[in-house]
């Protein structure tokens, strides 16, 4: 069943540059998706695509300019007004940098106990036992309770952040690049911990990442974002079969792969992502797209069903056909 539903989420930031009219950063434009209980939806994109803004909107840390977010059918805006604590109990967040997201002046045990205390999860007398249980669940020992974050490694700190999120037994955890600051060997440990926790508790993850290869392996569904919009969304199986949006293809091809050919199959993207203050007309990707035709600059494509997923491209059918042919 649908746990979380975003419909047309849009976030604009006003910025003023001294004198003159303020300009508007279109961080997020009409983003819609659903998330089921126990499911992982990965949001993939590069810096400036709006993925972190989306994470913050969903976690209730920033207010969307327009659009709605519903939690188990209930509008999140109402819930936030009426019972803010219940909203935050349902949706927790794990951030990218465990050095910044865990308070350096508090002991690990106190950090994990905060949620239990604020949300009255267990009676005071049982709090210590519950903290121990949570630390044990994320692979830390009782001795870590009295430690300060600086005494821990990056991986251990991220485990503390996960224990803190689990303390209130949320139904959704928004994970904003939870392993990108960690060493490769430790990344796998933390990813496997998240997978185990999901299996046990049926918690849903909104998993923000820049790594398309990683999320094809760990997510159930994937959405690729470019300049504030979803450009392709579908099941991981559909993504593994083929990528249909030219940006998804470029993103995947750009990541170096061991054992692959040293010459890129898809030519590397030229230039950089345009500014979200004044996004390109028509399709926002047309300025860098190797397939662009005049129609792409004039007419903004809508998300439509192609090859078992939704894709925002006028030419999706012909690009998909070409990709299939190349694979054969």
């Amino acid at each position: 069943m649908t746990l979380l539903a975003a419909t047309g989420l849009t976030k604009h930031y006003q910025i003023s540059r001294g004198f003159g009219p303020a300009s508007v950063v279109q961080a997020l434009t009409e983003v819609s998706f659903t998330l089921d209980a126990g499911e992982t939806l990965a949001i993939v994109g590069e810096s400036g695509c709006g993925k972190s803004t989306l994470a913050r909107c969903v976690a209730g840390l920033v207010e969307a300019t327009s659009g709605t977010l519903a939690l188990s059918g209930e509008p999140a805006a109402d819930l936030l007004k009426r019972d803010r604590m219940r909203f935050h109990r349902s949706i927790q967040m794990v951030f990218q940098d465990p050095y910044a997201s865990v308070n350096p002046r508090r002991k690990v045990g106190d950090t994990v106990a905060d949620g239990l205390r604020l949300h009255h999860i267990v009676p005071r007398a049982q709090r210590r036992a519950k903290v121990l249980e949570l630390l044990g669940r994320v692979g830390l020992a009782a001795e870590h309770m009295a430690r300060y974050p600086h005494e821990l490694s990056g991986g251990q700190r991220q485990r503390v952040a996960i224990a803190r999120a689990l303390a209130v037994d949320p139904s959704v955890i928004v994970c904003d690049e939870p392993v990108s600051a960690l060493d490769v060997s430790v990344q796998a440990q933390v990813m496997n911990l998240l997978a185990d926790v999901q299996r046990e508790r049926n918690v849903a993850y909104l998993f923000i990442s820049h790594d398309l290869a990683l999320v094809q392996h760990i997510a159930h569904r994937i959405a690729v974002m470019y300049l504030g919009q979803i450009v392709e969304i579908g099941s991981a199986a559909a993504f593994k079969r083929r990528l249909t949006h030219p940006y998804s293809q470029s993103l995947f091809a750009a990541a170096p792969r061991i054992g692959g050919t040293r010459e890129a199959l898809v030519p590397p993207l030229e230039g950089e992502m345009p500014s979200p203050i004044d996004p390109p007309s028509g399709c926002r990707f047309h300025t860098r797209c190797p397939h662009a035709v005049p129609r792409c600059a004039a007419e903004a494509p809508a998300l439509r069903d192609v090859d078992g997923r939704l894709v925002r491209c006028h030419l999706a059918e012909s690009i998909t056909a070409a990709a299939t042919e190349a694979a054969v």
Partner: protein, 325 residues
């Protein structure tokens, strides 16, 4: 063929309250002309410390104790005085770092920062240095180079700043480029552009590259030879096809499995445990506590380097005996 750079028994230690902490221990390697050598390892493996020691850029406040030899153009870099080393750096050795926003000086324009090495090392006039700066920016494929000269680092994107860093590093046509995690802070599509740029320039200038990275994908696409480091020591050394195709050290195998981002049932292959602290190293092989293939023999002493042919060697008692999976 004579190597361009030859490192012999490089060790770097830092005095601390608990005695001398060895960040790099007894590392030897060579780089041939035109070769790209990748130094691979995780945080704390000593890979960046080794590169900084070569160029004399370790913070003096940490009172580093550097021993060994680094022969470059017939001279030992580790024995050179500050003055002589400064002539080498920026002239025959160029460097680029992970974070271009801290490596560039925020209060000087791009033009001033590119012109500086040209004036110091090549003795160019200001006007001539500015012309050369435009050529260099064109070379690293920065759009509108004339306009960029008057801009400051904060006006540029991350990828553009790294291109400027490369332009500065290449200003005097060095024979060696040391690149310390040059693309780690960049998005993948920008990373692809910067890696391609380094490869093209390497071919054009004929320089060698010492690439320091943790990303085995980047290693595969750019390196000729690879050195894997763990806890301050070299654990495996060889051509890229051998190291990433048929690794013989269990740590390299673990890194490779982790980098493939694959595994049954939505899980990933992990290396259990964590890197030991440099002042509490295990008595035998430093990787033994995390190694799935370890036996009691591994605790007996530091494993010897076993030569496996074709320039491939590994510091593991099992290397080459066929027990490796």
């Amino acid at each position: 063929m004579n190597p361009l750079l030859s490192i012999e028994n490089l060790s770097v230690g830092f005095p601390s309250s608990r005695g001398l902490v060895k960040a790099v221990a007894d590392v030897s390697f060579t780089i041939g002309p035109g070769e790209t050598l990748a130094l691979v390892g995780e945080s704390g493996s000593g890979k960046s410390t080794a590169a900084l020691a070569l160029t004399g850029l370790l913070p003096r406040s940490a009172r580093p104790q550097v021993t060994g030899r680094a022969l470059f153009g017939g001279r030992d870099l580790l024995a050179l005085g500050a003055q002589a080393l400064r002539r080498v750096r920026g002239n025959s050795v160029g460097m680029i770092f992970q974070d271009p926003s801290t490596a560039l000086n925020p209060v000087f324009t791009i033009g001033q920062q590119i012109a500086e090495p040209l004036q110091i090392h090549l003795g160019l006039s200001w006007a001539r240095a500015q012309e050369r700066a435009v050529e260099l920016l064109t070379l690293v494929r920065v759009a509108e180079p004339e306009r960029r000269l008057a801009q400051y680092p904060h006006n540029l994107s991350g990828g553009m700043r790294q291109r400027v860093m490369i332009a500065i590093a290449l200003a005097c046509k060095p024979s060696l480029l040391i690149a310390d995690e040059p693309t780690t802070a960049l998005d993948v599509t920008v990373q692809a552009q910067v890696l391609r740029l380094i490869a093209d320039l390497k071919a054009a200038i004929g320089m060698s590259v010492l690439l320091i990275t943790h990303d085995l994908g980047v290693v595969w696409e750019t390196a000729d030879r690879v050195i894997v480091m763990y806890a301050g020591r070299k654990v495996e050394d060889g051509p890229v096809e051998a190291i990433l195709g048929l690794p013989q050290h269990p740590y390299t195998m673990g890194l490779l499995r982790a980098a493939r981002k694959d595994g049954p049932d939505g899980r990933l292959a992990e290396i259990p445990g964590m890197v030991p602290s440099p002042n509490a190293l295990p008595p035998g092989c430093a990787f033994e506590p995390r190694c799935a293939l370890a036996s009691v023999r591994c605790r007996d002493g530091r494993p010897p380097f076993i030569a496996l042919g074709a320039g491939h060697s590994a510091a593991c008692i099992r290397a080459g005996d066929g027990t490796a999976p």
